[in-house]
Amino acid sequence: MANIIANLNKAFESRIRLGIMSVLMVNESADFSMIKELLELTDGNLASHIKALEGLAYIESTKQFIGRKPNTKYTLTALGRQAFQEHLDALESLIR
């Protein structure tokens, strides 16, 4: 049991970070406003969690312009995908 709990990733304790990772697992990429709408969050709240995930190199951002509007797109890194998958596996084996 202790072993499995150790596999749970501390970075994904927050429901918001789980949400961000879930969106990026099934979508090639997502922009800030899309994640914001899906998770029903404020700008500041989402930004801080995104920064944390970027700091861990689980997600990466690309800035681009759509017309004249700046737009930031987020994608999962290979490391992030692996970390989240391991977290999912740990969650599943815990409830079994």
């Binding site: 789980l18 879930s22 899309m34 709408e37 969650l91 815990l94």
Partner: protein, 200 residues
């Protein structure tokens, strides 16, 4: 343990919500089905049942049938948009987001191809085959779009394709298969989806 279960549930919900068009209302299927049956009944009573009694020449008959079909289409799409917008609002979601656009795009390719192809058939004088072509292309559109929405849509699509092929084999009874496909199947699947997803 509770938290882990809740976490997994939240993850699954967010994955679905962000990649699938879930605002589709089951009731819009029921309304589309009723509209299609009304349209087919009108076509049968005024034109197809007894073509010579309608007092219309062939060109006029085809025009009446086309207007009838377009009205059915517009009423169905109108209600689908209206009811989906209402469902999206109820679930605190925007109707038009990236997923919706992807859904509409993937649906419209086979649908437009089928629509244009059917018009070409009519133009070439082959009206009888149109019940079959509309069913088949509509079924293909549903199968194509089902990965972005509820699983039931996949099976509805396959049902429509089978009915379309049957309508081509039994060419002179095309209207029956058309009524079953666009009318009765929509009502049945609409009710199933309404019960499963909307009555919560």
């Amino acid at each position: 343990m509770e938290k882990q279960l809740e976490d997994l549930k939240a993850i699954r919900e967010m994955m679905e919500k962000s990649s699938k068009f879930l605002s589709l209302s089951g009731m819009s299927g029921v309304i589309a089905g009723i509209t299609a049956i009304a349209g087919a009944a009108f076509a049968w009573l005024y034109v197809l049942g007894n073509p010579s009694a309608s007092g219309l020449d062939r060109y006029q008959q085809i025009t009446v049938l086309l207007v009838d079909a377009i009205l059915v289409l517009l009423v169905s799409i109108g209600f689908a948009i209206f009811l989906s917008a209402r469902k999206a609002k109820k679930n605190h979601q925007k109707l038009f987001n990236k997923v919706t656009l992807k859904t509409v795009y993937n649906m419209s390719i086979p649908l437009l191809a089928g629509g244009i192809f059917s018009l070409v058939c009519i133009y070439r004088g082959d009206v009888g085959i149109v019940a079959s072509t509309t069913l088949i292309f509509y079924g293909l559109a549903l199968v194509n779009v089902s990965k972005y929405t509820f699983d039931e849509i996949h099976y509805l699509g396959i049902t429509e394709i089978v009915l379309g092929i049957a309508a081509a084999i039994f060419l002179y009874h095309g209207i029956i298969f058309w009524t079953v496909g666009f009318g009765i199947c929509h009502i049945i699947y609409g009710l199933i989806m309404y019960k499963k997803y909307d009555l919560k």
